[in-house]
């Protein structure tokens, strides 16, 4: 599975990151803390605006549901009370979905991962690191982490799992979304496999972030 990422690729936002996960490519950007609209403002915590744009055509309810899922994850990790009465805006543009319209697992996993990098790039306070992994279960019950478009098509269920990362190790679940036909046992297996993989994903992100810090650190020692 390829996973390439880069930060600070856009210069008019506070933070940005691109993610290339093989067939799926996503750019995410973060603006914030910025001034919210009056109706968004929250007195004790930051407001969160999540926008997801589809690779082809305009966004519709499909992207709305994805936004809802991303918001559920981000509202757990962003330390909102650092930015009361402020807005944090996250925009994800899918460049290549790498899956059929009926599926969203590959996109969601890439969006979550690129948002993580973009939030760090924007210096938004996070309570924990996090990483996402998409998994498909084949007809024979085999688990595939990071399935291809074809594997996803012939799978019986698809899953996205997001783990919180503490001290470089996955600690607890932040989010998990499964759809298709699967058993209870398979859920536990998916969660276990995802735990291993999100750890690996995070290791790759550490490298990306190390490069970012080196680049940002203008005074060389």
């Amino acid at each position: 599975m390829t996973l390439e990422s880069e930060t600070t690729i856009l210069n008019r936002v506070d933070g940005s990151a691109s993610l290339d996960a093989g067939e799926t490519k996503v750019i995410s950007s973060v603006s914030g803390p910025i001034e919210p609209k009056a109706r968004q403002e929250l007195p004790t915590t930051s407001a969160l605006e999540v926008i997801i744009r589809a690779d082809i055509g305009v966004s519709n309810t499909r992207e709305k549901l994805l936004e809802d899922k991303l918001r559920a994850i981000l509202s757990q990790v962003i330390i909102g009370h650092l930015f009361p009465r402020q807005l944090i805006q996250i925009t994800s543009q899918v460049l290549e979905s790498g899956e059929d319209r009926e599926y969203t697992s590959k996109e969601l996993s890439a969006i979550v991962n690129s948002s993580y990098l973009a939030l760090i790039d924007a210096n938004i306070g996070l309570s924990v690191s996090f990483a996402a992994q998409d998994i498909a279960i084949t007809e024979s019950g085999e688990l595939i982490a990071g399935p291809t478009k074809e594997q996803l098509r012939s799978s019986k269920s698809s899953h996205v799992v997001v783990y919180a990362i503490e001290n470089g190790e996955p600690s607890n679940i932040l989010f998990s979304d499964s759809i298709g036909t699967f058993t209870e046992d398979e859920v536990y297996r998916v969660l276990a496999i995802a735990k291993q993989h999100t750890g690996k994903v995070h290791q790759k992100f550490r490298k990306t972030l190390q490069e970012k810090v080196e680049k940002d650190f203008v005074w060389s020692v």
């Binding site: 305009v58 966004s59 519709n60 309810t61 709305k64």
Partner: protein
């Protein structure tokens, strides 16, 4: 339906055509035929009617009415503050939501206008300045949209009266409506003989007006009795 693509609703493929049904064979149509004497018998209609108020908990007032295959649900929101400049009197708005797919825009407008007219003259509007009252009519089922839509309108009007009372909004008197099948006319009364609304859609309804008034007035007294009995019994 809007010609532009609606991104906020899942409306399915754009090239799908609505179903076109062949006309019902005669034996079925007979079953649906309207019995004029049954439509005139207001007392038995009242006994067949099912009414319930206050079912919708997040509205200020609501009512649910069922009669002869007509099902309507009314919710009243308000008086609630409105945005914008100061108004001395409350503003009334009426919205009709059709769940049956039988209403066209014109009929929808007719219904809303009739209800709005009825209640504008009955609600104590100056008691609620800077406020708005929104009435939402939900048509859930219709007995006969072609011939008995004004009967439905009379039921909507009666149900709205109950919903407004349930919301605790001050009105001069109960608005009671009655429908005359023969002349396809609906009239709404307060204080037994004051007319607050009339809608007639038959050609000679004007000529028969005095006859219609006499007939519907009698009916409306029965309806009023039924509504008051209902209100007293539910308030206890």
């Amino acid at each position: 339906m809007a010609t532009t693509i609606d991104r906020r609703r899942l409306l399915g493929p754009a090239n799908a055509k609505p179903l076109v049904f062949a006309p019902l064979p005669e034996e079925y149509q007979q079953k649906l035929q309207i019995d004029a004497s049954k439509e005139d018998d207001i007392e038995s209609q009242i006994t067949r009617t099912f009414i319930k108020s206050g079912l919708i908990t997040n509205a200020n007032g609501s009512s649910f009415l069922e009669l002869d295959g007509n099902i309507v649900s009314i919710s009243v929101y308000g008086p609630r503050p409105i945005r914008g400049s100061f108004v001395e009197k409350t503003t009334l708005s009426v919205n009709l939501e059709d769940n049956t797919g039988l209403f066209n825009d014109l009929l929808n407008k007719k219904f809303c206008q009739y209800i709005e007219n009825n209640f504008l003259s009955v609600i104590n509007l100056s008691k609620y300045p800077k406020s708005g009252i929104d009435i939402f009519i939900n048509i859930i089922s219709v007995q006969d949209i072609d011939q008995l839509y004004l009967k439905l309108l009379s039921l909507v009007s009666d149900a709205t009266t109950l919903a407004i009372i349930d919301a605790g909004i001050e009105i001069i008197d109960l608005v009671v409506s009655s429908f005359d099948y023969e002349n396809n006319t609906v009239l709404s009364y307060i204080k037994n003989d004051e007319i607050v609304g009339i809608l007639g859609e038959s050609e000679d309804s004007i000529e028969n007006l005095s006859k219609i008034i006499e007939k519907t007035q009698k009916k409306s007294i029965h309806v009023k009795n039924a509504l008051t009995t209902h209100l007293i019994s539910t308030s206890q």
